[in-house]
């Protein structure tokens, strides 16, 4: 019997691959306070889908293009702190989501599984999706590994990194494009509304146990993978939606890490 016949194999692979790269990227999101930025990318990506539906191009490609374009538009905005960036991100985030929903409803004769995009459908992941995710995961892993120290340096201080001769703007751009790529691909798995949960919750769970950035990244990836396994298992057993189940599992692990932390703290102070 062919290994690829197992229906759960593709969702499992997609989930694990995403969780593995969401560990390091999500850690940067947490360190650099970009959580809302990731949300905005996800919401805006719906506009990409609309565009893809209307022009009849590959939807995954439209999704990636949509969030990458949005990331490029948002990058100068993020640097200009004189404008209140959370307000602007909020406007962009919700207006693109709303415009996407309205346009989709107006597009006549086209049926799009909206719920699938809002909440994701991990179990509907196909081989081609996994291939996309695999390629993206390799790209993200290679680039992050290659520029790891420089990325940590600009996260600690852009100013010091610039004086040290790091190409700060290019590194920022790279990080944001990789984030856009991951967000676009993860949308299919956990949906627009939960993408940033996959990015943020595992690193948050890892934080209290880690002493170095590398430990945090490793623990975040591990937490993500365990969440995927638990979520899929729960989804299989109780027939719950797979994407949200993964997020619920991650949240449970986060709560568990808080308990561990308070136990450790009380032992230390005892």
């Amino acid at each position: 019997m062919n290994l690829f016949d197992y229906w759960w194999l593709m969702p499992l692979m997609a989930g694990i691959l995403l969780a593995l790269v969401a560990g390091p990227l999500g850690s940067f999101v947490v360190w650099r306070r970009m959580a809302f930025f990731g949300d905005t990318l996800a919401h805006g990506a719906l506009l990409g889908i609309t565009f893809g539906v209307l022009t009849d191009i590959n939807l995954t490609l439209a999704l990636v293009l949509g969030s990458v374009l949005l990331a490029l538009l948002l990058l100068p905005l993020q640097n200009r702190s004189r404008l209140s960036s959370d307000t602007l991100l909020g406007i962009v985030s919700h207006s693109t989501l709303a415009i996407g929903l309205v346009t989709l409803s107006l597009a006549q004769g086209i049926r799009v599984d909206l719920m699938g995009y809002l909440f994701g459908d991990l179990l509907a992941v196909e081989r081609i999706d996994v291939l996309w995710i695999l390629l993206a995961a390799i790209l993200i892993a290679v680039l992050l590994f290659w520029q790891w120290r420089a990325l940590l340096a600009i996260t600690v201080s852009q100013e010091l990194a610039a004086i040290d001769g790091h190409p700060v703007q290019r590194l920022n751009l790279m990080l944001i494009l990789l984030l856009a790529l991951l967000v676009a691909l993860a949308m299919k798995v956990v949906g627009i509304l939960l993408v940033s949960a996959l990015l943020i919750i595992p690193p948050a769970a890892a934080r209290s146990l880690a002493r170095t950035p590398e430990q945090m990244v490793f623990l975040a990836s591990a937490t993500g993978v365990i969440s995927v396994l638990l979520g899929l298992w729960a989804s299989f057993h109780w027939d719950t939606p797979a994407g949200p189940s993964v997020v619920v599992a991650a949240t449970a692990l986060f709560a568990f890490s808080l308990v561990l932390q308070s136990l450790r703290d009380s032992r230390r102070s005892a």
Binding site: R149, A153, V156, L160, A162, G165, P203, T212
Partner: protein
């Protein structure tokens, strides 16, 4: 210390910078030679931090030029650097991210600055004085030709301030580097500096610390202004005296930009 045969490691001429209709830097020129310690003083919002940024190449002036010696290695200790609590980082991990960091050099500076015991500690658990020393160590890792210290004693107790100011001329001698320092307090840096530049948008006065402290422009700026004055020994308190060149702009204390 001002040996004439040494060439300038960094020089600036006629720097001009306007931000939001406010002249932040007005016709500023200076020359920094190897082995020389220059201290910039001035009230909040006088453009000290902006001038440092321009000299470091982080910001472009509207006009004027900054010339750095080719291959100049700059060690920079920022005014403050707050790390996000969510990033777990040890002191050694932090230092390893600096350019020029190696195991031996990190060990050397940890010992030299007496912070070896902090090596494996989390950067989030350090006191103000300890963190300043770690930042100084970071600036020294590159073996700087030019050491730039922006308010190096902020958040450090008086004893620690005196120690740090004693350390700076020693480091200059060990590394043979030039030092550019920003300070609020002339009296503490007096012994540690060769030349003081008193800044308030433009250069009000400059020279040896003894001379500057008697300069009417200096007294005009600091006489009534000095807020942090636990050890102020002013002999002059001439209110409403005018600058030597007749005008002082930007009296409203603006916000520090850095």
């Amino acid at each position: 210390m001002n040996s004439s045969e040494t060439t300038a490691v960094l020089s600036a001429s006629h720097l001009q910078l306007v931000r939001q209709h406010k002249t932040v830097l007005n016709d500023i020129s200076l020359n920094l030679k190897a082995g020389q310690i220059i201290t910039l003083i001035g009230p909040n919002g006088c453009g000290k931090s902006t001038l440092i940024k321009v000299l470091l190449g982080l910001e472009k002036p509207d006009s004027g030029t900054v010339t750095r010696r080719t291959g100049l290695r700059i060690g920079y200790m920022p005014q403050r650097l707050s790390l996000d609590q969510r990033m777990p980082l040890t002191v050694t991990g932090f230092l390893q991210l600096a350019r020029g960091a190696s195991h031996e050099r990190i060990g050397h500076w940890l010992d030299r600055l007496s912070i070896r015991a902090l090596a494996q500690q989390s950067v989030h658990d350090l006191s103000g004085g300890e963190w300043q020393r770690v930042l100084l160590a970071r600036a020294l890792l590159i073996k700087p030709d030019l050491l730039v210290l922006d308010e190096p004693v902020q958040g450090v107790d008086v004893q620690g301030q005196l120690e740090l100011y004693r350390l700076i001329p020693q480091l200059r001698d060990e590394l043979g580097c030039a030092v550019l320092m920003v300070s609020h307090d002339l009296h503490l840096v007096m012994a540690a500096t060769d030349e003081v530049i008193c800044l308030n948008g433009h250069i009000c006065c400059s020279g040896h610390p003894d001379t500057v402290s008697l300069d009417p422009a200096y007294i005009q700026l600091f006489g009534a202004r000095q807020q942090q004055a636990p050890i102020a020994h002013y002999t002059h308190h001439h209110d409403h005296q005018h600058c030597a060149d007749g005008h002082v702009e930007h009296r409203a204390p603006g916000k520090e930009i850095l």
